[in-house]
Structure formats: structure tokens, C-alpha cells
Symmetry: C2
Subunit: 281 residues, 2 copies
Amino acid sequence: MEKSIDSFEALTHRLREHPDRKRVAVVCPHGESTLAAVKQAEEEGFITPLFVDDADPQAASRRGVELVRQGEADILMKGLVQTADLLRAVLDKKTGILPPGGTLTHIAVAQIPTYHKLLFYSDAAVIPYPTAPQRREQVKYMVGLCHRLGIGQPKISLIHCSEKADAKNFPFTEDYLQIVDEARHGTFGSCVVDGPLDVKTSCDLHSMEIKGIRSPIAGDADGLILPDIEAGNLFYKTVTLFAGAEVAGVLQGTLKPVVLPSRGDNHRAKYLSLLLAAIAG
Amino acid sequence: MEKSIDSFEALTHRLREHPDRKRVAVVCPHGESTLAAVKQAEEEGFITPLFVDDADPQAASRRGVELVRQGEADILMKGLVQTADLLRAVLDKKTGILPPGGTLTHIAVAQIPTYHKLLFYSDAAVIPYPTAPQRREQVKYMVGLCHRLGIGQPKISLIHCSEKADAKNFPFTEDYLQIVDEARHGTFGSCVVDGPLDVKTSCDLHSMEIKGIRSPIAGDADGLILPDIEAGNLFYKTVTLFAGAEVAGVLQGTLKPVVLPSRGDNHRAKYLSLLLAAIAG
């Protein structure tokens, strides 16, 4: 059995061991950091870029999506195009790549120098306030992505500011309790799901013990399901700015992974996102 | 003019320069970290503790609150008592210490090794989803607290996952725009308020410039008004766990500051909170 991937370095090694170049449709392939990221991933043998350029970004978006639909591309990547334009093409009911009834959500993974392994989190970018069914999809995608990285039984923590469910003020915490129950019954496959828990008790055993809480997460979370996009975005910005974290992110729910960097992402973040998409695909 | 306080060390120095022992009513003075924090602040000359003990924690809470009402205590501190018990006494309409129409909210300040000064944030502990009037009070209290620390014109950032207001999905971002406008007209006194902005553009000039945003915050925020308690709590837990931050917090809106540590807080956090309350009072 292969060792689980616990760092971006280990992710790179894994991709090297299993050479299988993914074809990446890069929509509007401009911008220094995008081109540098694509070039590095290509030179290292992980991807083959398919540059989809057009003076009309909407046309380029539709063509990029079409390449994925026809099985000619394994990954869709946003270049110098508005997110709204690309998502419109992705979500088009006739020509898009989100299956009917599918949930589009964002999963990212952070390598935080002060944490002992990779830490997944969702959703920092797409769904403002997840509904109960969307929350279940987030858990499902996160478990699936962890399995892809060789994490056989990922520990997923459902995050709230308290460890007590509160149906009145925080209705989603009721969903949490149901999801924990479903996870115990095997709904999400091999995983451990618990919550509500806060970030500190999820990622630090000592903090959990001080609070007198017992949880199978035991301060060793592989992934955090964050309550909403505000919490998700805040987590992403805070760990990158103040804790020196590196992050990679992909959209899930589509036929194939979509790499949708934000404007502030540097070359390294885009490169790591390509690697994550390559293993997710 | 005195230099502004930009670290907990500077806060300690300031309190030493202006010896004015605050009388702290410690409700149910038990628990190792609480006692150690009180003892240290007393030995350093900052406070005089008034221990309010009773086999009935509710009675102790009422007595502690009464000491503040009668002007016999300058700070109320929670010891080994349930938060709900203490807050019930604080909020009691007849015998409590929240003025009629007042807003109880939590303000904390973090010293993050990777940031160049103290960073205030609100609300990580009390108000789940602030209404527009509550949000204004949060800004008002934060500006006031910054002034107390000698920050003449604090830069306060109204946090959202994007820099665009979105009335449909995020109604509070409309409040943000109005608050920014009111701040410009002097409603909150000497301060600079801007938003919506995310944490990274608020605290890092480079991130702001990459995004092509212009803001008077200019990556130099003194304080963050966080969208809701989930974001507030996540910020607190993330900077302390992953970025090595130390934090202090107080309740605002009451006649006198209330120190309400959470179970997970260590001796140092409680001690720093007493110092913050001493300068806030």
C-alpha cells in the first residue's frame, strides 16, 4: 500500500512515480504567473497544455469547456478571463460540464508549516451559505479527494464556533449532526466525520483535552468543512498571510477538475493547483 | 504626545508609566490559569482583585455585577462560572450593567509574530450575525479602544470574502458601504474605515496592489470587523494555533469592561485580557 501524501513535496513525488500527463485546457493563456505555472508543470512531465485563445473570452471559455466534454482535455484552467465568463460556460445546461443536479464547490488544501500534514478545507470560493445537500456533497468530494491522496480514512471536521449544535442561531449545526450520523453508517465511505468542532480542537489534541471534549478527530483533522464562504475565505487568507501556508485549490462537481485561481494567487499557488487537479482528475 | 501602543510589551510599559490599579471583581475565583493571571497582574501593580465567591455561581455572578454597578469594581472577570450564568447577571434589565439599548459585543486584539503591530478584531464570541446597528456599535467600540491605546486614527477594515458589495447574497455588505460613508462624515470620530475588503488586502499592501485595489487601509489595518461570529472565531483560533499569535479580549458595551475568557484560554491570555481591560476601562 502506498504511503499517504502529507505534503506538496510528497504529491510531486507521487506524480513523478506515476507519469500520466494530464491534458490541460488553459482558457485565455495569458498572465505571467499562469504561464509560468503551466510551463513548470509541463517541464516536470505532469501536464500537456492545450492553449485555448480567442479575442472573445466567452468564446474561449466555451471552447475550453467543449474540449473537456469531448474527452480531449482532463483539466480546465482559468487564464486571463473573468471568473463569471468561465463559470457561465462550465454551468451551461446544454453545453456545460456540471452533471444535472450536480453541486459545484471549491476544495483547497493548505500546507501550513506549523501543522503536521496537509489540511483540506471547503468552501473558500463558490457556495456562499451551503444548504444541507450541498454540505453533504462537500463532505463527499473531500473524502474522495483524500482517498486519491492515499489517506485511507480521512478525518473530516465540521467547523463551528462552538462544539454545541444550536438549531436556533445556527441551523446548519443540525445538518452537521445528521452528517456525522450518516458518516457513521457509511454514507461517505471510509472516513471519520465529527462536529460541530472549532478549528483549534480539530487540529490540536491539547486544545481538545483542555476543553474536556472527546472526538475521534483527536486534533488530527485531514479536512475542515467550513460553515460558509466567509469563514472559508478567511481561513485561506489568514493561513497564507500570517502562517506562511501554501495552498492549492480545485473546483469539484464538474466532469473533470477545474483550476480557478484567484487574482491574488502567485505562480506557485497556480502550479500547486495544477498538481492537485492532476491527482484529483 | 505618547507613542501608540503596537505590542503587548508596549501595553505593559504604558500601564507601568500610569500606575492606576484597577479593582477587578473576580467571580468564582478558581482555576489555575485564572488565579495565576490575576496574581501576576496584581504583583505587577496593575490590578487589585476582589474575590467574589459563593457556592451558588448565580449568586456570585450577581454580586460581582453589583460591585461594578456601585462603582466598587472597575472590571468584571469570569472565573470558574458558566458564561451563561455570568451573562445573565450582566444583562439583567434591573440589576445588570448593560445600559438600556446598549449592545454587548466582544473585541479582541492579536499580536501576530508576522504582523507589524497589534490587530484588533470583532466579534469572535458574542453576536452571531450582527445587525446594521450592532455593526456600527462594533466599529464605535473598536475605534474607542484604539484611541485608548494611542492609535489616533485607527484603520478599520470591514471584512468580506470579496471587495465587492453584494446585496443579494451578502446583505451586510450594503451596511458596510453605509458605514464607510458615515465614517467619512465623522460619525465614528478620528478613524479610517473601508470595506468590503478581505483580510489579505487589509493587512498586506502587496496583496492589495496585485488585485488592483485602492484603499486608504493600504495593507496597514489596525482592526478587522469580521462578518459574523463564525469568521470571528475562526480568525481567533487560526492565528493562535497556526501563526503563534497571543490574544487578549474584553466585552464592550457594559458600564465597565468584562473579561470573559474561554475555557481553552491559558494563563497568558487571561493576563493579557486583564491588561486590555485595564486600559479600556
